[in-house]
């Protein structure tokens, strides 16, 4: 696993922050926006120049922040999995992003035609560019693709990776996502009136909306054959994807899509709801998501297991959220602990669900992690103890 987000630049940083209940939400400082004082974000306090240096890139490169964050995370993941040669087994890459090269496009849109410095970012605009850059940086020559289903993207990347290994198409696949903060998404969510000016409070009765975040997060899936004698961090035991088919941005009141995605994942994992020890919820802290997700959880689980949303740590990292939270879920299995749902005070009256608000030890064999996005895209992953 490899990850960079607002709560740290490595997996170990994340473990430390999560165990210490330390949020990474702050005021934006890497770039100027009119909304700087009216929103809180999960920003990585590293400039593009610092990230480029860490990757030893030449000065005139055209890596967007999306590609930079992705490379940093993949670098750590390859090192942790002890992979120095990507050619000894058929290795693929499936990345997820919503903004693609937008962080550079929004800067240069007015002068693409006139400035030499801007021109090099025309070809980096499309969503596949960051994945191509990551693949080229690490010499990945086999299957490379990118998924963009809004905020469920990275979960779908993990799903496809698992399917490619199951079918024998690949022996090893690097799966995850990368999304930087940019004005495009800040203004988009602002126009939907769902950004909070405080640190977000998932599942709280008085939640005011979400905090956007940024992250690069990748996991390496390997077949038994490619794994050899390496230790297994966790198993992808189930996955499910369903569509709410209700509204372009809003989730249905009873959370049909979420319910179906969780149900499918359990079925594939051959598990019953009572086998789930911890739910890492999508929990964005918007009025709509949290009530819809709560309703779906209550429908599926007669006894709701321990659950929390970790969005108040990292912010909502959009396409990357599914990979960030898959890593957090694996850390929960390793630590045998449920990470807290920060800032929760009062349950939503009509639903009454109460998340874990403090770090608690628990026996965790199976974690269910949810990620939902615009367009009704709902995806669920089940990660199990090795």
């Amino acid at each position: 696993m490899g990850i960079i987000s607002a709560i740290g630049h490595t997996v170990e940083d994340h473990r430390t922050s999560l165990m210490a209940s330390k949020s990474g939400i702050s005021t934006i400082s890497n770039f100027k926006t009119a909304h700087a004082n009216s929103i809180k974000v999960g920003e990585i306090k590293k400039t593009n120049l610092e990230l480029s240096k860490a990757l030893n890139l030449p000065e005139n490169h055209n890596y967007t922040r999306t590609a930079l964050l992705g490379c940093i995370a993949v670098k750590e993941a390859l090192a942790q999995a002890n992979i120095s040669d990507v050619f000894n087994y058929k290795t693929g890459l499936i990345s997820a992003t919503t903004v693609g090269g937008m962080d550079k496009s929004e800067l240069h849109f007015p002068d693409f035609n006139s400035s030499k410095n801007a021109e090099k970012y025309i070809s980096s605009h499309h969503a596949g560019d960051s994945s191509n850059k990551i693949a080229n940086y690490f010499n990945i020559t086999e299957f490379v693709t990118t998924i963009s289903t809004a905020c469920s993207s990275a979960t779908n990347a993990i799903m496809l990776g698992a399917r490619l290994i199951r079918s024998g198409q690949l022996d090893r696949v690097i799966v995850g996502g990368t999304d930087p903060l940019c004005k495009f998404t800040i203004n988009g969510f602002k126009s939907l009136m769902i950004l909070s000016d405080e640190i977000c409070a998932p599942f709280d009765a008085n939640r005011k909306g979400l905090n956007l975040g940024e992250a690069g997060a990748f996991l390496i899936l390997e077949s038994e054959r490619a794994r050899q004698d390496k230790p297994v961090l966790a198993y992808v035991s189930g996955y499910g994807n369903a569509n709410d088919a209700f509204h372009q941005t809003a989730s249905s009141e009873n959370g049909d899509g979420a319910f179906l995605a969780m149900q499918k994942a359990l079925k594939l994992a051959k598990l019953q709801p009572e086998h789930i020890d911890y739910i890492n919820a999508h929990g964005t802290a918007t009025v709509n998501n949290d009530s819809s997700e709560s309703a779906a959880i209550k429908r599926l689980f007669t006894q709701v297991p321990k659950f929390s949303s970790t969005k108040a740590f990292t912010g909502h990292t959009l396409a990357t959220a599914g990979a960030v939270e898959a890593i957090i879920s694996i850390l929960a299995i390793q630590e045998q602990a449920v990470f807290p749902n920060l800032n929760f005070k009062n349950p939503i009256p009509e639903l009454g669900l109460i998340p874990e608000t403090k770090l608690v030890s628990a026996k965790i064999n199976h974690v269910l992690s949810n990620s939902f996005g615009f367009g009704g895209n709902c995806s669920t992953l089940i990660l199990s103890k090795a």
């Binding site: 126009s191 939907l192 009136m193 509204h247 372009q248 941005t249 809003a250």
Partner: protein, 84 residues
């Protein structure tokens, strides 16, 4: 032009209601749900219109529900609260 008519023209243009004419909207017709069939995204468009054209700022999208009931209700609200 009456404020009602002005609002109808704005709504048709803003929300791309190509097949609907000003005459098709009654002053007391429901704009959302069973009436004109507008949804939550349209409500957000109308909130920005209130701010931009009449200097009325709504911070909670839920407040829109009461204000956007019909053209008449909306016009009355604007008359009382407009700052420009």
């Amino acid at each position: 032009m009456s404020l009602q008519l002005e609002l109808k023209e704005k709504i048709i243009e803003l929300l791309n209601l190509e097949d609907i004419a000003v005459e098709d909207i009654d002053n007391s017709d429901a704009l959302f749900g069973d009436g004109l069939g507008l949804d939550s995204i349209d409500a957000l468009e109308l909130i920005v219109m209130l701010d931009k054209d009449y200097g009325i700022k709504l911070t909670n999208p839920n407040d829109g529900k009461a204000i956007f009931q019909s053209i008449d209700v909306l016009a009355n609200y604007i008359k009382t609260h407009r700052t420009k």
